[in-house]
């Protein structure tokens, strides 16, 4: 007991002599070279974060004039035109000048973007989950890596190749064979009624986008399924449950929130997809889609499509207008990414593929 008391006195004396001990404890063993290295590495680490901030700030600043000009019409109006770029007069709204007749209503793009990605999600989620379950449960283990290659291929095939295939092969084939059949569902679902068009439109784009985001959802699901403890599954099987019942009772509850997170990330990718949509959407401006087969345009596709002509606007407003729709895309993307990542963090999945399923 006496020794203990003497000891604590020594602690106090020693502690008094260690200024800033807590802060330094972690890096007290760093040599001078270590410190230099750490600083250099920190600079590298700051790059992605700074690029993120820079891009966001640049987009928002660039978008502001057009957003002010359009005001609330931005979200509700259907007409998106840069106006008469060669006219001498100007339109003025909310104190901002734009070429005569300019109107920046983004409703068709926003709706087109959300609708096409929603169609993609409705198709991709069940297919991805089903395919992964088949891959893990039905396919013999030695063959699994060979089939997994297809996921990597789908993730790696460039979006222009999807566009090429969609516009020359898949779209026409669907319009000819599948879509006329689907119109019969129009009795129940009005948006499924014809006409079906030539195969460039919402549904075709949705199919292609689905294929593009399958790798994200599927590869995440595959990792999730691997985290399900074998003991729990074997326990259920030992109780005489069928494999389907085991899945419902054990596996699915385990991976459900992870699938939700992966779906959100997949959706975020679908709304940002540019080239394939540009090639397959039918590229229709200023009109809301009449049915699920209608041509449309998305935000990303429109930016690529119109940036060329926007550059000829002497007032610069056209470029601002494209930035404005870009900001909508950016906000939706970042928000869904954050939500998805927070969800994933909750289910504690360390090695989530960043953004795509490679």
């Amino acid at each position: 007991m006496r020794a203990r008391q003497r000891g604590s006195a020594a602690v106090r004396a020693a502690a008094a002599g260690w200024p800033g001990r807590r802060r330094r404890l972690a890096d007290a063993d760093l040599s001078r070279a270590d410190r230099i290295l750490r600083t250099v590495l920190l600079v590298g680490t700051a790059v992605p974060a700074l690029v993120l901030l820079f891009i966001t700030a640049e987009m928002v600043l660039s978008a502001l004039p057009a957003l002010i000009y359009a005001g609330g019409d931005f979200f509700t109006h259907q007409l998106f035109t840069f106006g008469n770029l060669y006219a001498t007069g100007q339109s003025v709204a909310h104190g901002v000048r734009a070429p005569l007749g300019a109107s920046y209503g983004a409703a068709p793009f926003i709706i087109g973007t959300i609708a096409s990605s929603a169609v993609a999600l409705v198709i991709a989620v069940p297919v991805s989950v089903g395919a992964v379950l088949a891959l893990v449960e039905l396919v013999p283990r030695p063959v699994q890596p060979a089939l997994s290659v297809f996921l990597e291929l789908l993730a790696g095939i460039p979006s222009v190749a999807y566009g090429f295939w969609g516009v020359l092969y898949f779209g026409p084939a669907m319009a000819q064979h599948l879509y006329p059949v689907l119109t019969r569902l129009g009795v129940v679902l009005p948006f499924m009624r014809g006409p079906v068009g030539a195969g460039e439109g919402l549904l075709t784009t949705g199919f292609i986008l689905a294929v593009m985001i399958i790798p994200i959802i599927a590869s995440t699901t595959r990792e999730l399924v691997r985290t399900v403890p074998a003991l729990a599954r074997e326990g259920a099987l030992a109780l005489g449950m069928t494999r389907y019942e085991t899945l419902r009772a054990v596996t699915l509850p385990y991976i459900r929130s992870g699938i939700l997170a992966a779906s959100i990330l997949g959706w975020a990718r679908a709304i940002g997809e540019t080239m394939a949509v540009l090639m397959i959407s039918g590229d229709l401006l200023n009109t809301l889609p009449a049915n699920i087969y209608s041509p449309f345009s998305s935000i990303a596709a429109t930016i690529v499509d119109l940036l060329d002509s926007a550059l000829t606007d002497p007032t610069g407003m056209a470029v601002h207008a494209l930035a404005a729709i870009g900001v909508v895309l950016l906000v939706i993307s970042l928000a869904s990414n954050l939500v998805g990542r927070l969800l994933i963090r909750r289910v504690a999945l360390g090695a989530l593929p960043v953004g795509r399923g490679i």
């Binding site: 203990r4 003497r6 000891g7 020594a10 602690v11 502690a15 001990r21 404890l25 972690a26």
Partner: protein
């Protein structure tokens, strides 16, 4: 403060001085090799004094003011049931908790007359002087030769010219030379677990530590290698202070000169091994030795 710690060390552990005297007395009539080994031994040994050590992980304090001394040239066994904080204490001695987030350490650890937690302390040199062997062998993904020479070269103890010679000497010392002499350039992962642990011991010895920390070093090994490592521990005692964490009372009996029992993050009793095992002073020690606790 230095004087204070010495005062604290000396009266409680008179054995240090006794041993040094014995060594001087015999030093006269031995062989040349023996003489040099004894000369090293005769050098004032480096004891370790822990004073009021507290370790907290976040809000949970696991070591509650441990005060204990470890003699130079003696083997002290830190024993106690799982979770009593013995490994935590051991890892505090060479500041291995430092990088871990949420760790808070207070109290004093002295090696010789140097404060380990002094902010001006050269942590890397401290760690060089405090060797450590872990529960499981952790050889580096380098060749066997580089595993041993890397740290010794970095610390400037070995030169390019004498590295080969000294590698051989140290491998001979731990009894691994014959097994690895033909594959010094290969990765160590093909060695058996026991051989890997001996390699790690050789690696630690190469940087000439004054203190050797052993964290259940034989818990994953076969009986043969365990015996070999215990032999080495006994032999190394002449060169350094040895602290071994073990949950194996038989092992403590075999190798330790001194035993320190920890329960729930507090020292229950520290005593010479014979006395501790034959007539423990504390009722809880008696219960632990008899197998009634832990």
């Amino acid at each position: 403060m230095i004087a204070g710690v010495n005062r604290f060390l000396v009266p409680r552990f008179p054995a240090v001085n006794e041993r040094a005297r014995t060594v001087e007395a015999v030093a006269a009539g031995v062989s040349a090799a023996g003489a040099s080994a004894l000369a090293r031994t005769a050098r004032a040994g480096t004891g370790v004094a822990v004073d009021g050590l507290r370790v907290r992980f976040g809000a949970r304090e696991v070591v509650h003011g441990v005060t204990v001394g470890f003699h130079a040239h003696r083997v002290t066994a830190l024993i106690g049931p799982t979770g009593c904080g013995k490994t935590t204490v051991l890892r505090a001695l060479n500041r291995l908790h430092d990088g871990r987030p949420g760790v808070h350490i207070s109290g004093s650890v002295r090696i010789g007359d140097e404060e380990v937690y002094d902010p001006r302390a050269d942590v890397r040199d401290l760690r060089r002087r405090i060797g450590m062997l872990f529960q499981r062998p952790n050889p580096f993904p380098l060749s066997i030769r580089e595993n041993i020479a890397l740290a010794a070269r970095i610390h400037g103890l070995w030169s390019r010219q004498d590295a080969a010679e000294r590698t051989e000497a140290i491998l001979r010392e731990v009894g691994l030379w014959e097994a690895v002499r033909d594959r010094l350039g290969q990765a160590p992962f093909l060695l058996s677990g026991g051989q890997q642990q001996l390699l790690c011991l050789a690696r630690a010895l190469a940087v000439e530590p004054d203190v050797l920390l052993l964290d259940e070093p034989t818990s994953s090994l076969d009986p043969g290698t365990t015996a070999r490592i215990e032999e080495l521990i006994s032999a190394l005692r002449d060169k350094m202070t040895i602290i071994i964490v073990t949950h194996n009372l038989q092992q403590a009996r075999r190798v330790a000169d001194e035993v320190c029992l920890l329960l729930d993050g507090e020292v229950v009793e520290q005593a010479p091994a014979d006395r501790f095992f034959q007539a423990p002073a504390d009722e809880r020690s008696r219960a632990y030795v008899d197998g009634r606790v832990g």
